[in-house]
C-alpha cells in the first residue's frame, strides 16, 4: 500500500491537534441532531476501523479477517454480561483480552507470510472461527446472544440511561483513538512505518521485524475486541453477522473510504458507511451492490479516501 498512503513526519502536527479538538466537539454536540444509538454504533465501528487502520495504514498489513476479533469479543462480552453477570466494564475488558489472545494465535501463523498471502491467511482463519461460532453451544447459533443487559458501570452508573451510555462509549472510543495516536507517533510507530516502507531495510538495520509486526497485530486485534465488546453492550446483541467475512470486508471499506493511513479517515469512513447502511436498509441487497460499487470507485479513482483527499488538498496532515 505504499503508493497512496500519506507520508507521516515524526513531529506531532498542529492540524491533527485541531482535528482532534474538532472531533471531540462534534461528538459531544452530535446527540442533539442524530439518534444516539446510531451514533454509538458508529463510534464502535469507528474504533474497529481505527484498530484495523493501525495495521494497513502504518504497517502495510492487510488483515482480511478482522471480524474474527470483533465478533468473538462481542460474543464473549455478551455472554459474560448476561450469563456470568459481569459489570459492563469487566465484560468489555474480557472482550479486549479475547481479541488480544485470538490475535496472538492468528498473528503467529499469519505474520510468516506477506502481502496477499497474509490477507488470505487472516481471512481463512476468520472463516474457521466463524464455523466454530456457528457450532459452539454458547453463541446461540443463528439467534445469537440477545437481550444482553447493559448493567451498571463500575456497579454505580446505570447504563440504561441513554446519556450515560453515550458518554461511556465516547470515552471508550477516545481512549482507543488516543492510544492508537500515541502508538503511531512513538518510536515503536516509527519502526512500524519503516517496515511498511521497506521491510528488508528495517531487517538490515537490526530490527526483528516479525516481533514488531506481531505486537502491532495484537494491539490492533485487542482494540478490535474492545470495539466488538462495546458494541455488544450498546446494542445488547451479539450475532453471527459480526463474525462473518462480510464484516471483515466492511471494515476494509470504511477505512478505504475514509483514507488508509490517515488518523481521522477510519472515523469518517465508519460514519459514512454506517449512516449509508442505515438510510438504505429498506432497499435490501442494493446496499451490498452499492458497497461493492464504492469499493470499485475508491480503488480506481479515489485511493486516498475522503480525509486523505482533503489533507492533500489543504496540504496538511490529518
Amino acid at each position: 500500500m505504499k503508493q497512496d498512503v500519506i507520508k507521516t513526519a515524526p513531529a506531532k502536527s498542529r492540524s491533527e491537534m485541531i482535528g482532534f479538538v474538532l472531533m471531540v466537539v462534534v461528538l459531544l454536540a452530535a446527540p442533539l441532531f442524530v439518534y444516539p444509538v446510531l451514533l454509538m454504533k458508529v463510534l464502535c465501528f469507528a474504533l474497529f476501523a481505527c484498530a484495523f487502520n493501525l495495521l494497513i495504514g502504518y504497517v502495510g498489513l492487510l488483515s482480511f479477517g478482522h471480524a474474527l476479533y470483533f465478533g468473538w469479543a462481542s460474543y464473549v462480552s455478551a455472554y459474560a454480561a448476561k450469563t456470568w453477570g459481569f459489570t459492563p466494564e469487566l465484560a468489555i475488558v474480557a472482550g479486549t483480552l479475547v481479541g488480544a489472545g485470538l490475535g496472538l494465535v492468528a498473528g503467529v501463523v499469519a505474520i510468516r507470510r506477506q502481502g496477499i498471502y497474509f490477507a488470505m491467511i487472516t481471512l481463512a482463519l476468520a472463516q474457521m472461527m466463524y464455523f466454530f461460532a456457528v457450532q459452539a453451544p454458547f453463541t446461540g447459533g443463528e439467534d445469537g446472544i440477545q437481550a444482553v443487559p447493559r448493567g451498571h458501570l463500575f456497579g454505580l452508573i446505570d447504563l440504561s440511561d441513554r446519556n450515560a451510555m453515550y458518554l461511556s462509549v465516547v470515552a471508550i472510543f477516545l481512549g482507543g483513538f488516543l492510544l492508537i495516536y500515541r502508538i503511531i507517533h512513538s518510536p515503536f510507530g516509527e519502526v512500524l512505518k519503516a517496515i511498511r516502507e521497506n521491510e528488508a531495510r528495517a531487517i538490515s538495520l537490526g530490527y526483528k521485524t516479525d516481533r514488531y509486526k506481531l505486537l502491532a497485530f495484537v494491539l490492533s486485534t485487542a482494540l478490535a475486541g474492545t470495539a466488538g465488546a462495546t458494541k455488544a453492550i450498546v446494542l445488547q446483541l451479539a450475532s453471527l453477522t459480526d463474525v462473518h467475512w462480510t464484516m471483515s470486508g466492511e471494515v476494509v471499506l470504511m477505512t478505504l473510504v475514509g483514507g488508509l493511513g490517515t488518523v481521522f479517515g477510519p472515523v469518517v469512513g465508519a460514519f459514512v458507511i454506517i449512516v449509508m447502511q442505515n438510510e438504505l436498509a429498506q432497499f435490501g441487497q442494493w446496499v451490498q451492490v452499492i458497497q461493492g460499487g464504492i469499493f470499485v470507485i475508491c480503488v480506481l479513482l479515489f485511493r486516498r479516501g475522503i480525509v486523505g483527499e482533503i489533507a492533500a488538498l489543504l496540504r496538511i496532515r490529518l
Binding site: 492487510l62 501463523v109 510468516r112 507470510r113 498471502y117 488470505m120 457450532q135 470486508g249 478505504l256 480503488v299
Partner: protein, 295 residues
C-alpha cells in the same frame, strides 16, 4: 453390510466420493486462481461469483433458450469468460502498477456487486438444475453405488486440470505465458502482444471457474451465494498448495476434498474447519505452502 473401522462401507465410500467431488471443484477453482495470479499477480476475489455465474448461465441457457447441459458446458464458460474480458479491460488493467492488494480490494468489490445483483433478482433460495438424461442412473460397484453424473464430474475435472497443466508447463504457448510473468518487456520484444495475452489468461481463469459452476449446478442447485463461502475454502487450499504451482493447486485441491470427506465420516463436527486447521499446520511447517517456492 461390510464395516470398515466401525463405519458402514456405504457411508465411508459415499463420503469419500462426495469428498472427491468437492475436491474436483476445489482443484478447478484453485487452478483458475493460480493461472490468474501467475500472470496478473491479482488474487481474483470475484472467482466465487464467477463460478456462480457459470451455474446461472447454464440455468438461463436451459430455461430460456432450451439449450441442454452439453451445450451449456461449452457456452456458459465462454459467456462468463467474455465478462472476464470486460472486467480485465475496464478495471484490472489500471491496477497492475499498484500494490497487489488493490487488485484484491477491487475484485472483492466486484464480487459484492455481482452477488448483490443476483440476490436481488433471484433471492437466496436455490433453483434446481436437472442432471442430463444421458448421465442419469449409476453403477453398482458391489461395495457402493456410483451415480454416473458424479463419476463424470470427477473424470471431467481431472482431464481439464491436467490439460491445463500440460498447456502451461509443456507447450510453447505455456512457455510464453511463464516468460511473460518473469519479464513482460522481454517477451514483448519477441513480438508477442503481452496485454492481449494477459486479457486472455484472465478470461481463461474465469472460464475455468464458470466450467466448475456448470458442473456443480446439477449437484448443488443454482444459488446466488453458492460461490461466496466456497471461495474462502479455495483460498485456504491455495495457501496450502503454494500459489506459485499449477500442479500444487490440482493435487491439494483433490487431496483436501478427500480429507474433508473422510473427516465428515469420523469427526462430523470438524468437517467445516479441517481444511483451515491443515492450513495452519502446513504454514507453521512450510510457510510457502506444500508446493510453493519461497520468494
Amino acid at each position: 453390510m461390510i464395516e470398515i473401522f466401525g463405519i458402514p462401507s456405504q457411508a465411508l465410500f459415499g463420503q469419500l466420493l462426495l469428498g472427491l467431488i468437492n475436491g474436483s471443484f476445489y482443484a478447478l477453482l484453485s487452478l483458475g486462481l493460480a493461472v490468474i495470479f501467475g500472470l496478473l499477480n491479482i488474487i481474483n476475489f470475484t472467482h466465487g461469483a464467477q463460478y456462480m455465474m457459470g451455474a446461472f448461465a447454464a440455468f438461463f441457457l436451459l430455461n430460456y433458450l432450451g439449450l441442454n447441459y452439453w451445450v451449456a458446458l461449452v457456452l456458459a464458460p465462454l459467456i462468463v469468460a467474455a465478462t472476464g474480458v470486460v472486467i480485465e479491460r475496464l478495471f484490472l488493467r489500471h491496477l497492475y502498477h499498484l500494490d497487489h492488494l488493490y487488485g484484491l480490494l477491487l475484485t472483492f468489490g466486484l464480487a459484492l456487486i455481482i452477488q448483490g445483483l443476483f440476490r436481488n433478482q433471484f433471492g437466496s433460495s436455490g433453483m434446481p438444475y436437472p442432471i442430463p438424461d444421458s448421465l442419469r442412473g449409476g453403477q453398482n460397484l458391489g461395495f457402493m453405488f456410483l451415480p454416473n453424473y458424479r463419476a463424470w464430474v470427477v473424470v471431467c475435472s481431472l482431464v481439464v486440470c491436467f490439460a491445463t497443466w500440460f498447456v502451461i508447463e509443456r507447450t510453447r504457448l505455456g512457455a510464453y505465458l511463464r516468460a511473460a510473468t518473469e519479464n513482460p518487456a522481454l517477451v514483448r520484444a519477441f513480438g508477442i502482444n503481452v496485454p492481449r495475452m494477459i486479457t486472455l489468461t484472465y478470461a481463461f481463469g474465469v472460464g475455468l471457474a464458470a466450467l466448475a459452476g456448470v458442473m456443480a449446478a446439477p449437484i448443488y442447485n443454482v444459488n446466488p451465494l453458492m460461490g461466496a463461502d466456497l471461495i474462502i475454502v479455495v483460498f485456504a487450499v491455495v495457501v496450502i498448495g503454494g500459489m506459485g504451482s499449477i500442479m500444487g493447486a490440482i493435487i491439494t485441491g483433490f487431496t483436501l476434498g478427500i480429507v474433508e470427506g473422510l473427516t465428515k465420516v469420523f469427526f462430523p463436527e470438524a468437517s467445516n474447519t479441517v481444511i483451515f486447521v491443515i492450513m495452519v499446520i502446513v504454514l507453521l511447517i512450510r510457510p510457502a505452502g506444500l508446493f510453493g517456492r519461497t520468494a
